[in-house]
Subunit: 551 residues, 2 copies
Amino acid sequence: MEFSEHIKTANVEDVVLQQPLHPPSRGTLCITGHHLLFSHREVQDSSCQVLLLLRNIDAIEKSSVENLSGHLGLFTNVVNSKRPSGSSGTIIIKCKDLCVLQLDIPGMEQCLNIAQSIETLSCLDCVVDMYPFFYRPCDAILCDQWGLSNPEKHYTEMEELHERWRLSTVNRDYSVCVSYPAAVIVPKEISDDTLKKVAKFRQGGRFPVLCYYHRKNGMVIMRSGQPLTGANRKRCKEDERLLQAVIEDSDKGYIIDTRSAQQAQQARMTGGGFESKSCYNSWRRLHRHMERGKTLQESLIKLVEACADKSHNMDRWLSKLENSKWLSHVQTALSTAGLLVECLERDGHSVLIHDSEGIDSTLLISTLAQLIMDPSCRTLEGFLGLLEREFVQAGHPFQQRCAHSAFSHARLQQESPVFLLMLDCVWQIWRQFPLALGFSEVLLLRLATETYASNYGTFLCNSDMERRAAQVEDKTQCLFRALLKPREREQYTNPLYEHTELAIWPSVHPQSLQLWRGFFLRWTQQTRHLEEVQQEINNMVIESGKTALSF
Amino acid sequence: MEFSEHIKTANVEDVVLQQPLHPPSRGTLCITGHHLLFSHREVQDSSCQVLLLLRNIDAIEKSSVENLSGHLGLFTNVVNSKRPSGSSGTIIIKCKDLCVLQLDIPGMEQCLNIAQSIETLSCLDCVVDMYPFFYRPCDAILCDQWGLSNPEKHYTEMEELHERWRLSTVNRDYSVCVSYPAAVIVPKEISDDTLKKVAKFRQGGRFPVLCYYHRKNGMVIMRSGQPLTGANRKRCKEDERLLQAVIEDSDKGYIIDTRSAQQAQQARMTGGGFESKSCYNSWRRLHRHMERGKTLQESLIKLVEACADKSHNMDRWLSKLENSKWLSHVQTALSTAGLLVECLERDGHSVLIHDSEGIDSTLLISTLAQLIMDPSCRTLEGFLGLLEREFVQAGHPFQQRCAHSAFSHARLQQESPVFLLMLDCVWQIWRQFPLALGFSEVLLLRLATETYASNYGTFLCNSDMERRAAQVEDKTQCLFRALLKPREREQYTNPLYEHTELAIWPSVHPQSLQLWRGFFLRWTQQTRHLEEVQQEINNMVIESGKTALSF
């Protein structure tokens, strides 16, 4: 793709930039295929430039100010209409990381050209046109290993698994399940042929696979798509056998279905369904209704609107916060994860978790449950590894879910802030157990930003298959590896971290859950003050030599 | 008073105590004139005893459990009715610091006796019967100076004042104003005779006095009661002259009335009023409606109820939080204080602040304004000194306002959590500027507790006059002095404190204000985790030798 086609005006002088927490400043605006670059007039060193990834732009609003009359009116949609050159235009840029910027651009035509370039270049559809394929940091070595681990390596390292579990490469060409990685862990006695049959019985081909092995008691978390029982209550002997193999003869297991019982029933009408008691008699099914998809996206939009409300009305704010339902979603996610941990750690039984597709709330819950139970997931590396396994490799469709954040007026397609909700839940845990997680809020904020717009290839595409096709591993940089580089990791480490073997049970009382101000109000002054404190604590820790301990 | 009259049962064995954050424990309960003492059966060292000041008990609920039937019923009010000795009783103790305890007491009669003793001894009316008059800590020296300062000393130290202001002892025998201290600061040219006349024109005799001098621009905060203009728009030349003397000829001033204009108008019907423009033409009046009295108390009760709600319903919690209006009161207080600072520091004019009586919201606002403006009020000593001047000496009626907190079913008389609201506002400032205050949240929590029930005499009585009559200074210990003792002060110091000369303007956006969880949810697990963090930070600071700096 020739980006230059879409850039009619590449440079504008005398632009005024207004951004949160800074006084307005005047300088030169430059647009490239992937960036807006603003250089302050006074200061010329690069630290005083503002570099904005176009992909980070969720929506823009244009308005014109005619210099003579001072009249402020919205552009009509005739973008190319010529106006007197004396007038100027304003572009309000709403970013996916919730930052809102304003550009005052002299010359209407230039303003319109810039706006049009932004509109086109900020939502490129083709993945290989995206910036990660062009990003070459000066310290990059492309032959670096990509990613932190992979299913093969993970399996090899988990020796406890080898007796009863095997690594299957039945999906090596992605023909069995488009959203699974090439290798998955399954019960040893289940053959690849059986898996192929089970895949046909599970939505999206997502047959039950192991995602977590609990060393303390040998129990596991499995995840899958819903069984395609349909209206006729179809059965699949292979599926039943697979699940039986998970728990062995004497034991029983839990199925956590993140839909209500009614929703699961209704799913049968469209070919989906649930594991009936009669066919899966060793498994006990628990339903927990979790919102997903559009509902979750609308909740995010409402919350961000509430946060931007400038009225000084406390009642209105609290009632908007309530209406957004975001905190209810946080609560439900944490309590469902808690339920899973109870089944697995307290009751000592294996758990299968799924919703319909098995690529959203399923992954959210299995991630949170592992964080709650397993100390090895609570270090910086451990947590990034968890995200890599449970979201990236497990096939969360990042490209679809994170195409837009809270500002876009585009008709919602497949957007849904599942990953952001997960990060919010992790933040709640971090806040409740400030010593138990090895990473800091800064990491969660960085991840929240990177999922929507990134220099790195980690969150590109919707599955391993798509990443393979686009050669993401060969042609882009890996975010997780970058975050672990010595200089970077310093800022993402929790200086107060103390290892604990215990499960960290988050309180899910509504009183215990809070708005994640660090994210949702990050562009306000007070968040900056909290950052100062964090910095101060970090400095002290470094001084007192405690840093060595936490690495 | 003979406390023993009220103690029919002094000791009960085999009592089970249930308190938040601890497993239930069995031991011996002992009641004295001022305390409940519970000694755990297993551990005998004194650190494992629970010592509860009876004054801290806001309400109790009794219920009986008959051992045979297991029936749980509320006691009828026939307290002395004999019941089978095999039954046992339960007392739920709701403390003013919001802690809720439960005692399971074998033997109904004993239970009833204990309950009756608590009911009588927890709300003694006579101040000299209260515990501060009996408290003798082992390190106490009664000849210690009482309090941190006094008006005389304060005046002497403020040399800038001496040219235009004088110390008047017109109130030395409290005959001019019962709620003022013996000495107050007034304009030099205003004679004591004039003050006496002005006192007759101001509610409660509270003629305008200086409470703060802003070194940066020489402007002052005055406070007073409302002028008693009444329905006939009575004038008082002396009052007008006093206020004119405050601002001198060329200048103007602001009057901040913490009632709405309508309320101020209505006050005229009952003899009160406001400063009319025609009579006080150098003064500009601003009205800001602040809730007080019963409304504030009910708001606290609703908030505490909401916090105790055990349902797991997020919407219900947020809507109860909203309905309590507590955060709205916090917002109004902070924004009114901000208004005062704007008038004084930004606009450079002196301010007179009052409501009707001048002993509640008036003091709240002048305290917050000083904290915002003046770095010397932001150290540990400075803050305690500010509270001493602006609440204790200025005549906030602690005994009336803090007789009960949120649990009592007694008919509300004069209770109102003005001081607690002030502490909450200070906490909001502390959270927004975590480096700017020299004291910690722990101090605010301690103060919140001490105002309602204390070993110390600082918050006894309603005025200097009453304290003098009860010989509080001779016969009790001073809390503020105790807090500043080396070992105590350590825990009340903010380890991250960095002095700043600037005013710290709190954001009053509803999004910026939060529930003070440390206080309102202090008896829950998560608050404990936050305390761990604080401890960890303190330790590090001590290690890194920064402590020396912050003292």
